[in-house]
């Protein structure tokens, strides 16, 4: 289980929306295999009667009065956008005819 294939690396990179060069894929394949081998030692721990901990503090819903408060202005929210077409963010084509 510890060795992961080149296909695995490419699959995970697609899930992560991450472009990797061929050299990066090679390096990632060997480094991730080494790291996963170390991580897999967890399988030896008996956790059959143990629940998972997602957070160390008990989170509860917090209610506040439904009052209008100042937020970011549109200008402030758009100020860092790489491409903008006021008052919108501009993004590349999402859908194309015939696809």
């Amino acid at each position: 289980m510890a060795t992961i294939s080149r296909d695995d690396v490419e699959h995970v990179a697609r899930l992560a929306r991450l472009h990797l060069t061929d050299a990066e894929i090679d390096r990632m394949q060997s480094q991730l295999s080494n790291i996963l081998e170390a991580i897999e030692t967890l399988q030896q721990v008996d956790t059959s009667h143990v629940g998972p901990t997602a957070s160390v503090i008990q989170l509860e819903n917090v209610m506040r009065e439904d009052a209008v408060r100042p937020g970011l202005t549109r200008d402030a929210a758009l100020a860092n956008a790489p491409r903008r077409d006021d008052p919108f963010l501009r993004v590349p084509t999402v859908l194309r005819e015939g696809r």
Partner: protein, 501 residues
């Protein structure tokens, strides 16, 4: 004055400021001069606005002259902020002031980013009257233990410029060690405050998870991240923590619990305290000089009247694997926001998919890519239960062991880092060797507990840190133990040879 200004503690400097023997402007200029002198050599700062800093210092001096300094120990004290905290300078009406510095998180993907709002940490320190000197270099998105993962070049350790200052808050630790800043803030997800504090001979503290607001702290692993101070004494750390701690309604994991007067609790007395030494923390691979210094530190506390007890935390060696599932999994989700659409770098591709993948491929460095891949793998269909859920179950075990031990002792003593500062480049090609630097610190994040690193001597001329770990919400006891040790040992007064003018 025997010591250069920039090497004195906040406590001493605050007295001089209030007695008007010193102005905040003079102190700030001394820090800015150190920063300029060491900029090339140490590479500690990524963004500085000296004019805005001087203006803030003049304003603090005006407040002191009006006699309004009462009860504000940080008024007029210059500090540095890790470049993982977003910064914006606003006046009381919410209008922009000069000095709103850019925020990069040490990454190319955020080059030139300017936050539309300030982080709670910046805001609270501004309210306390502290003077922001600039943003410090760090490992990209706080992922690293050497500061070599910054897109803006490594930071060098003022004790020996061929070695690393630790990471990920390496710029903050080096800035305090080099006398560039009187204190600094860092973030600690697996040791990123305590380990660099250990490697630079400074005091660094990670508070209990939920103690300090994470609002405006760029998220790495949200269930582990916590903000905390670096300073040149435990007392100074207590003062800064007092200004930072407390509930913030903008952070849903910030807990509404009383904040004690940390500085007032530093009695110097540890008689009657039971301090546990977990045998699993003295691991193979620990340098003998580090072990000797840490054991000496423990003996000092015994001489001061603490009862030293041998304890066991048997799952300690599972910490690394647990951490390297949970932290990358959370990171892969948090870093999904960097998509080239709303802010930061954009590849400018014609199609959305390509724009996502090429922006992220070009904007993230090697370690960040590795963690995103590892986390995405651990969360992917078919592996989620075997990796992610398993790690969360082991997290339960690790936390339960700490809780059990801390029900029989008042605090735990351990090494902070298994080694002193290592050479630049020594571990960059071996991720697993790099990850082992945090073996003694990351279990504390997994359990959400407070921990501090306090200098406990030198090994081969380089600083060693003693770690004190406490019960959740009991920073007071952690600080009290560290302060009593510091007073008896005095190693915090050691300065790096290069710090002197």
């Amino acid at each position: 004055m025997s010591l250069p200004l920039a090497d004195r503690t906040i406590t001493e400097l605050g007295e001089l400021l209030r007695d008007r023997a010193l102005s905040s402007r003079e102190l700030t200029d001394a820090c800015l001069a150190r920063m300029a002198r060491d900029a090339e050599r140490l590479n500690t700062f990524l963004a500085v606005d000296a004019d805005a800093t001087r203006a803030a210092a003049d304003e603090a001096d005006a407040v002191i002259h009006r006699g309004d300094a009462g009860g504000r120990p940080l008024l007029g004290i210059p500090y540095a902020l890790k470049d993982i905290f977003v910064t914006r300078a606003l006046d009381d009406e919410g209008n922009d002031l000069p000095g709103g510095l850019p925020t990069t998180a040490g990454s190319r993907i955020l080059e030139g980013y300017r936050s539309p709002y300030p982080s709670s940490a910046q805001q609270r320190l501004a309210d306390a009257g502290a003077i922001l000197l600039g943003k410090t270099n760090c490992d990209e998105f706080a992922m690293g233990s050497s500061n070599e993962n910054s897109a803006y070049g490594p930071v060098r350790n003022p004790w020996d410029e061929t070695t690393v200052p630790g990471g990920s808050s390496g710029g903050s630790s080096a800035a305090v060690a080099a006398g560039q800043a009187c204190f600094a803030l860092g973030t600690d997800t697996g040791g990123s405050i305590r380990q660099p504090a250990s490697l630079t001979g400074t005091v660094g503290m990670k508070p209990t998870y939920g103690r300090v607001s994470r609002w405006g702290m760029i998220a790495f692993a949200s269930s582990l991240d916590q903000c905390g101070p670096f300073a040149r004494s435990v007392h100074d750390v207590a003062l800064v923590l007092g200004a930072l701690a407390g509930h913030d309604s903008r952070d849903s994991t910030s807990v509404d619990t009383p904040v004690p007067d940390y500085a007032a609790g530093l009695t110097g007395d540890v008689r009657g305290l039971r301090l546990g030494v977990p045998r699993e923390y003295f691991v193979a691979g620990m340098e003998p000089g580090v072990e000797a210094a840490v054991r000496d530190g423990i003996e000092t506390l015994r001489r001061l009247g603490a009862e030293i007890v041998d304890v066991s935390l048997p799952s300690t060696d599972r910490g690394l694997a647990t951490y390297y599932i949970i932290a990358p999994a959370e990171a892969s989700a948090n870093l999904a926001r960097f998509d080239g659409v709303r802010y930061g770098l954009s590849a400018g591709a014609d199609e959305l998919w390509e724009n996502y993948t090429h922006t992220r491929g070009a904007g993230f460095g090697a370690e960040v890519k590795r963690r995103i891949m590892l986390g995405t793998y651990a969360l992917s269909a078919g592996y989620y239960d075997a990796f992610y859920v398993k790690a969360q179950q082991v997290r339960t075990l690790i936390k339960a062991e700490f809780d059990e031990v801390l029900s029989t002792v008042d605090a735990i003593l351990a090494p902070t880092s298994p080694t002193v500062a290592f050479k630049l480049g020594a571990k960059v090609d071996d991720p697993l060797a790099m990850y082992l630097n945090d073996a003694c610190t990351l279990p504390v994040n997994i359990a959400g507990l407070p921990g501090i690193s306090v200098p406990c001597g030198l090994s081969g001329g380089l600083p060693v840190g003693l770690q004190v770990i406490g019960r959740a919400w009991d920073e007071a006891t952690v600080l009290r133990v560290a302060d009593a040790y510091e007073r008896a040992a005095g190693f915090t007064r050691l300065r790096p040879p290069t710090a002197h003018d």
